[in-house]
């Protein structure tokens, strides 16, 4: 954990296995519902928890980059190392689908990402660009956040998150 917390956003996805960490404390779980209204309430709370999980992940990614508390393992995260920040697109509703048993869920939403490219190659163009003091460049692109979640004994955790 301490080693993980030293890493930055650019390299944390390269780290090995990471112990699962409780994510979002569940209020009454859907499985415990005794009637439809209780089930609907539980589903709403699950949706809110997962949305909060995504928002928390993005906020931490944009902050110190230590997203370990949100994910089941570092291998679950598939983000291009050039991505240096993520801005969720609030203008479009995310799509969230729960498995029949309510133990897993899949999420899709849109985001705008900032890409930072370092010019480290040996092409003449890169050499001359570096020579001018322009060793890197940032750009923006629209990406789809695709995430999968699993319910644990203590709440929801991200089992896979990719920017496509």
């Amino acid at each position: 954990m301490s080693e993980f917390s030293k890493t930055d956003r650019r390299n944390f996805v390269k780290l090995g296995a990471l112990a699962a960490t409780p994510m979002v404390a569940l209020a009454p779980a859907a499985a415990m519902a005794s009637d439809d209204s209780a089930a609907r309430l539980a589903r709403l709370e699950d949706e809110r928890a997962i949305a909060g999980l995504v928002t928390g992940f993005v906020r931490r990614f944009n902050g110190d980059g230590d997203c370990s508390e949100f994910v089941a393992s570092s291998g679950a995260i598939l983000i291009d190392p050039q991505v240096c920040s993520i801005a969720e697109d609030r203008s479009r509703d995310p799509q969230l689908v729960f498995a029949d048993d309510g133990r897993t869920a899949a999420w899709q939403s849109r985001a705008e990402v900032e890409l930072l490219t370092h010019f480290e190659g040996d092409s003449t163009l890169e050499k001359m660009t570096r020579f001018q003091g322009q060793g890197s460049a940032s750009s923006r692109a629209s990406r789809k956040i695709e995430a999968e979640f699993a319910r644990t004994g203590d709440g929801w955790t991200i089992t896979r998150l990719a920017l496509a």
Partner: protein
């Protein structure tokens, strides 16, 4: 070393300029300093005048002029020459025994002034023969304060081109295609119609008058400086430095010009800033001068062979930053069987076995060899594709444009083991025809070299933050210029080029990065879609032998009218 030549008959990047010592430079400057610069035009007489040059952040210098073109400056007495252009007087002088000097551009009407301070040796230039300069803007102190706009760096010249004829008879094309560099073509003293690039200064004096200088860094190290009147197309100037025969050239000249046009510049409208590569903490006179030979791998044939034998070969297997905005490669050649009959007699047979694999056999010898290729269909029926010729001693590549509708093919044949650096790509252009079922026979018709691109400039947006502009400055020169994020085009270099018309608005172009990274760059330019696709061929010590894709959308920056300056055989050159 061959015999010294003042203006070499080989490309300047191949010429071995003498590494003159500072002592030798100083010795050679002494007598000319005392007699002043030569000139065909009599000097303006400044006798008995005193000019007190004052600058905000540079030197204060007093010029005490006396009869017979003598001047005392900084405690030293020397000779000067002064030529006037309109209200501006350009004074030039060298300080005896100091290997230094000045050029003062003084606007007699406003008393604004710019001082060029020169020195040889002790840096920042790496060699004593390469002149250093520092540019100081200020005024001439008098009874009345200066009027008008202070002199300042400018981008106003960017994109323009002029054809100069000096009173010496020397003719030069000058492409002012950058804010910090220039590209010039000597039409008389050099014979092979090449253009070269050099760091430059551009100073706004008035709306009509500009002060320009270039230092032929990486070559002779010579200074070429002039005040030019953009309206009247005249100049007065100074040439100072040592030519290829190590002879001092120290003369002033009067020039007249033809206006050739202006290619677009790309700063935001309203942005007139002109110091995109400023070095506020740099040493006096320091600026960003691109010295490509310093950073180029320089390998022997044995070293090249060793890297390749170790398997450090990459054929379209890595992401290319030169193609971040490239177009999709095409698999449409898969299944084709055809041959290219080149006019030099060679025959290349192809069996295209897949979207990225083919088999080739040259001149009917032996069996077919499998190779990986990539192809792009840049215009319907017209492809560019490339592959290595594994097993050949010079590690050749063929980069071919095949027009299956016309039955024509042109090959930019690349190879290593040139006489200069084994890892530097050489190239030749081969014309031929396609032969195969369903391919029309063009008879004797062939793709031909073209001047349609001559004088044109295109920007290329390869990847975010990786952009350049090409200027096809002569029939055998491709120059490339690198922009800053603000859209100022800045550092520039150039190499051999060749240009072939494939169809209307479809051109096959190449550049060789000679004595500069060694790459052979090839692109098929579609001026209808304003996009290209191409292939780079490169050999390096660490990253090995590679073919990689090139591709970018283009902007047409314009076309400079220079056709009439080049004879029919100007594409021929000895690289």
């Amino acid at each position: 070393m061959e015999e010294l030549q003042a203006y070499p008959d080989i490309p300047l990047f191949r010429y071995e300029y003498t590494d003159l010592s500072l002592e030798e430079v100083t010795r050679r400057l002494n007598a000319p300093a005392l007699s002043g610069p030569q000139s065909l035009e009599a000097s303006q007489d400044l006798a008995n005048q005193v000019l007190h040059f004052r600058s905000e952040d540079g030197p204060d210098l007093d010029f005490h002029f006396s009869p017979e073109q003598r001047v005392e400056v900084g405690g030293a007495e020397t000779a000067y020459h002064a030529l006037a252009l309109g209200d501006v007087t350009l004074v030039s002088l060298l300080i005896p025994r100091a290997a230094s000097g000045y050029a003062l551009a003084w606007d007699r009407h406003t008393n604004q002034a710019t001082l060029f301070e020169f020195w040889f040796g002790n840096g920042p230039a790496p060699r004593a023969r390469e002149i250093n300069r520092a540019v100081w803007h200020g005024h001439i102190e008098g009874d009345e304060p200066p009027t008008g706009e202070p002199h300042h760096p400018t981008l106003r010249c960017e994109g323009r081109a002029l054809a100069w004829t000096e009173d010496t008879g020397n003719r030069t094309l000058e492409y002012y295609c950058s804010v910090t560099y220039t590209h010039w073509v000597e039409l008389d003293r050099l014979s092979d119609s090449r253009g070269y690039s050099a760091p430059a200064d551009y100073v706004f004096l008035t709306e009509d008058l500009y002060l320009f200088s270039r230092v032929e860094a990486e070559f002779s190290g010579m200074l070429h400086l002039y005040v030019m009147d953009a309206n009247r197309l005249e100049s007065v100037g100074l040439r100072l430095g040592f030519n290829g025969a190590d002879e001092l050239e120290y003369y002033m000249f009067h020039g007249s010009a033809e206006w050739l046009g202006q290619n677009a510049r790309f700063e935001a409208l309203g942005d007139f800033s002109a110091t995109p590569l400023a070095m506020p903490d740099g040493a006096k006179g320091e600026r960003r001068i691109y010295r490509p030979l310093e950073t180029m791998d320089k390998m022997t044939p044995e070293e090249v062979a060793e890297v390749i034998a170790a398997g450090n070969i990459h054929v379209f297997d890595r992401d290319s930053p030169m193609a971040g905005n490239g177009t999709e490669k095409s698999g449409a050649m898969a299944g084709k069987t055809f041959a290219v009959h080149y006019d030099n007699g060679s025959r290349m047979e192809y069996r295209v076995t897949g979207p990225e694999t083919l088999e080739w056999r040259m001149d009917g010898r032996g069996g077919f060899t499998e190779a990986r290729y990539n192809a792009w269909e840049v215009m319907p029926g017209a492809f560019i594709f490339g592959h290595l010729l594994e097993g050949l001693p010079d590690h050749d590549c063929h980069i071919v444009v095949a027009d299956f509708d016309a039955g024509l093919a042109t090959n930019f044949h690349g190879f290593l083991n040139t006489p200069y650096f084994a890892n530097e790509a050489g190239a030749e252009t081969l014309f031929g025809k396609l032969v195969g079922d369903g391919i029309p026979d063009p008879g004797t018709r062939r793709h031909e070299r073209t001047r349609d691109l001559l004088g044109r400039a295109f920007t290329w947006e390869y990847s975010p933050g990786l952009n350049s502009m090409h200027l096809y400055s002569t029939p055998n020169t491709t120059s490339w210029i690198i922009p800053t994020p603000s859209g100022h085009f800045a550092t520039q270099w150039s190499g051999s080029g060749d240009f072939v018309k494939i169809r209307d608005q479809l051109y096959f172009a190449r550049w060789q990065e000679e004595a500069c990274n060694g790459t052979l760059g090839t692109i098929l330019i579609n001026m209808r879609t304003m996009h290209d696709a191409g292939i780079g061929y490169h050999m390096g010590a660490e990253r090995g032998l590679s073919l990689s894709n090139v591709g970018a959308p283009a902007r047409h920056a314009g076309k400079i009218d220079v056709d009439r300056f080049f004879g029919p055989d100007a594409w021929e050159r000895d690289a």
